[in-house]
């Protein structure tokens, strides 16, 4: 553990130890390398998860057609070129699990918390680089185990990403509930450990390792957002873990926490007594809802930063931005039961959760207002990163508005488990956070690799993705309002849903196109690492934050010589007629006050 060296700010912090290939690229303790490891692992999962959605969208769009290539690819899971119901559910489940946890939690927080925290607060590395490394390798192990569940005979877990019992607790409930579920739960337990190790480190680093002058109110909003994200994770993941532990006992040791004497076809009545599946839902959603914000907050933070830098204007309402992040973080813990309005929840309790849920609209609206006012009359530079940041704001508004519908327990009786919900959470959480992640990648790629991403490909990527995202998810609202349920394998046998066949086909075609454009982004990413235009200036975006004071390709330790001192907040853009004033510039005597 080289933390002691990191703690002392000595001048000659040239790292004398010689890195081998293994210590530099594999078991690295450099936060920047660990960030890249998280990013690339997350990208691999994003491609796999996205491809899964293409496969099940083909089923939904073309239920009567057969695709012989699918049988070549999936074997018995797509007999006759037709995806089987079991495989369909396995794909939907794994798509949800990996996108929520592996891509938008590990891939997003793991990447940007690791990359940006030390660079933007002025630290040489994390509080514990060793724990940081462990965090990645736990995630890696979780990934390998999740991936291996594709290759067991009974297939991966297929009971939905929420893993509700009895499908998750009872091995006989479905093929995927057998060893696929064992692997799923082991993988998720490792993932929780990874998140906790990461989160502890992020919190300790932000609170203890800031450079001289970097008071909490001089932190970029990215750091504030990542801080609240880590707090949410550290407080909510353990509760999920406790839910999983009880689940393991029900699965393997015959206990009755969740299982009761239900009758199962082919098995008979279970010997269990008194178990409650609802208990699992409470434990799950106590994490599950904060998880939504674990996914969203990092994107919000990065978007705040990128909007300000590329509008050449200070962020509007810095303190209000922090306050609203704080309010969202608190409320995130108090709304979990809005996922459970139709479980027979006491209506009085339901109304409390309605109120608390709708309250989230207040800090969310503050954030949206501040983003828009930051853009207002700015000298906007439409870089691909900036476009994705603006796209995030658009999606957050569109998806947030439907949250007001769903947060209402009376409306939820009709909308629950319909495509309306699918549309809502994909727009507000899935695609929006993905846009935040893309914005972050385009914006910080020059710092990560010392190269630029190709702009033309970036613009194609943005326009096709945003248009596609709306074309995919907007129509789903109407399907949901008409009562079309989610999770169904085939709608063609219902007279009432036949009217949506063409719409479903349209959604499927667009999702294939959007997936193809993500491959274009992937090409851009890897091509640019090696062959991209080289960054030749220290501060290509003319940004105020500390990461741009490091060398173009910073080594382990980030700064050559002393860590710079900070004298001001990070949003002095256009102040006193000066385009930008980095945080390292001392406050002049003539300078105006805020």
């Amino acid at each position: 553990m080289s933390n002691e060296a990191v703690l002392h700010d000595n001048h000659s912090h040239e790292h004398a130890h010689h890195d081998t290939f293994i210590t530099k690229y594999v078991f690295s303790q450099d936060h920047k390398m660990i960030a890249k490891q998280f990013l690339i692992t997350g990208m691999i999962w994003a491609v796999l998860g996205g491809f899964m959605s293409v496969l099940f969208r083909l089923q939904l769009g073309y239920p009567d057609s057969s695709f012989p290539w699918m049988e070549d690819l999936l074997g018995k899971w797509a007999k006759g070129g037709h995806i089987t119901p079991e495989a369909y559910y396995a794909l939907v489940t794994t798509h949800g699990t990996v996108l929520v946890f592996f891509v938008l939690t590990a891939g997003l927080s793991g990447t940007f918390a690791n990359f940006l925290i030390p660079l933007q607060i002025g630290a040489r590395d994390m509080a514990s680089p060793f724990m940081n490394m462990l965090s990645y390798w736990f995630f890696f192990a979780a990934s390998i185990i999740m991936m291996s569940s594709f290759f067991v005979q009974t297939g991966p877990f297929s009971g939905g990403w929420t893993a509700y019992p009895p499908l998750s607790a009872l091995g006989d409930a479905s093929p995927g509930s057998k060893s696929g579920m064992d692997l799923w739960i082991i993988s998720m337990a490792l993932f929780v450990v990874s998140s906790l190790l990461g989160g502890l480190n992020y919190i300790a680093t932000i609170l203890n390792m800031r450079t001289k002058g970097m008071s909490m109110t001089r932190l970029p909003l990215t750091i504030w957002a990542l801080f609240f994200t880590a707090v949410l994770g550290v407080l909510s993941f353990p509760v999920l873990l406790s839910g999983f532990i009880l689940l393991i006992f029900d699965r393997n040791f015959g206990t009755s926490f969740y299982l009761s004497d239900i009758f199962v076809n082919g098995v008979g009545a279970l010997p269990n007594e008194g178990g409650s599946a609802i208990l699992f839902q409470h434990l799950f959603w106590f994490l599950g809802h904060p998880e939504v914000y674990i996914i969203l907050l990092p994107a919000m933070g990065m978007v705040s930063e990128i909007l300000s830098v590329n509008s050449r204007k200070p962020i509007f309402g810095y303190m209000a931005m922090i306050g609203s992040l704080f309010a969202i973080a608190i409320l995130a813990f108090l709304v979990w039961a809005h996922h459970m309005f139709v479980t027979g929840l006491n209506p009085f309790l339901g109304s409390v959760f309605v109120l608390l849920t709708l309250l989230i609209a207040v800090p969310s609206a503050i954030k949206v207002f501040n983003w828009l006012t930051t853009l207002w009359r700015g000298n906007i530079r439409f870089t691909p990163g900036m476009l994705f940041a603006i796209g995030f704001v658009s999606l957050f508004i569109s998806g947030g508005l439907t949250g007001i519908w769903l947060g209402n327990s009376a409306l939820d009786i009709h909308l629950h488990d319909t495509y309306f919900v699918v549309a809502h959470f994909h727009i507000v959480m899935g695609v929006a956070s993905m846009f935040g992640m893309f914005a972050g990648i385009y914006h910080w790629f020059p710092k990560m690799y010392g190269k630029y991403l190709n702009n033309t490909l970036g613009y194609i990527h943005f326009w096709v993705t945003i248009a596609g995202a709306y074309m995919i998810f907007w129509p789903m609202h109407y399907e949901g309002l008409a009562g079309m349920p989610r999770r169904y394998y085939d709608f063609s046998i219902w007279e009432s849903f036949k009217q949506f066949q063409d719409l479903n086909r349209f959604i499927s075609v667009v999702s294939i196109m959007v997936f193809a454009v993500q491959l274009l982004f992937l090409f851009n990413f890897f091509y640019s690492i090696f062959k991209g235009r080289k960054v030749t200036t220290l501060n290509p975006w003319k940004s105020n934050t500390l990461e741009w004071t490091t060398p173009i390709n910073p080594g382990h330790g980030n700064w050559v010589g002393e860590i710079p001192e900070v004298y001001r907040w990070p949003y002095d853009y256009g102040k006193d007629g000066v385009d930008f004033t980095p945080q390292t510039t001392p406050v002049g005597e003539e300078e105006s006050q805020h």
């Binding site: 269990n272 810095y318 300078e591």
Partner: protein, 192 residues
């Protein structure tokens, strides 16, 4: 924002100690989740009422004692009384192991009373007691392992130059698992 006081003090708290405190918060959430689930389930009609194993009273005394020896060993280390430190740290670890044995014995006591902890005949009341106590035991085991690590470091390294931080971090953790057990024990007695 430019007028706020600059942050330029020395580290107020060592990052590793701070990390441990945050980690404790995380563990609190895990046990809070489990004991909340316990309260929810307790309202069911099938809930089984039974007495806690008698030995849990004694094991509570043992773990309390181990906290005292832990406290004294940190003090001994700070005073550079190394022989005393080594003695106390091994005593703490031994008391930790004794606690684990007593807990396991408590489970056997329930078993002899025909209260099934696991399996299809088990009642959630007993299963909860087992799962929560077992998880606490794992945490104590982790503490014992950490104690053994710093114990062996006491022989292999020159202690005079050694930092007090790892010992204090382990000490904080040890007191935490102690307090956690007290909480669980009171919880079982009063709520359960």
């Amino acid at each position: 924002m430019t007028t706020t006081a600059p942050y330029n003090g020395p580290q107020k708290i060592h990052p590793h100690k701070f990390t441990m405190w945050v980690a404790l918060g995380s563990m609190v959430m895990m046990f809070a989740g489990l004991t909340s689930a316990y309260i929810v389930k307790k309202n069911q009609s099938t809930w089984l009422q039974f007495d806690l194993p008698l030995i849990f009273w004694y094991s509570t005394g043992v773990i309390l004692l181990s906290s005292i020896t832990m406290y004294l060993s940190v003090k001994a280390f700070a005073a550079q009384k190394m022989a005393q430190y080594k003695g106390l740290i091994s005593l703490t670890a031994a008391l930790g192991l004794l606690f684990l044995l007593m807990q396991a014995y408590g489970f056997r006591e329930l078993d002899t009373k025909n209260i099934a902890l696991l399996g299809p005949k088990s009642n959630s009341a007993a299963s909860f007691l087992f799962v929560i106590t077992f998880l606490h035991m794992l945490h104590v085991l982790g503490g014992v392992i950490a104690l053994l690590v710093i114990f062996f470091r006491a022989f292999t390294k020159n202690l005079k130059n050694n930092s007090v931080v790892p010992i204090e971090v382990v000490g904080t953790y040890w007191h935490f698992v102690d307090i956690l057990w007290i909480y669980l024990f009171l919880f079982y007695n009063w709520i359960g």
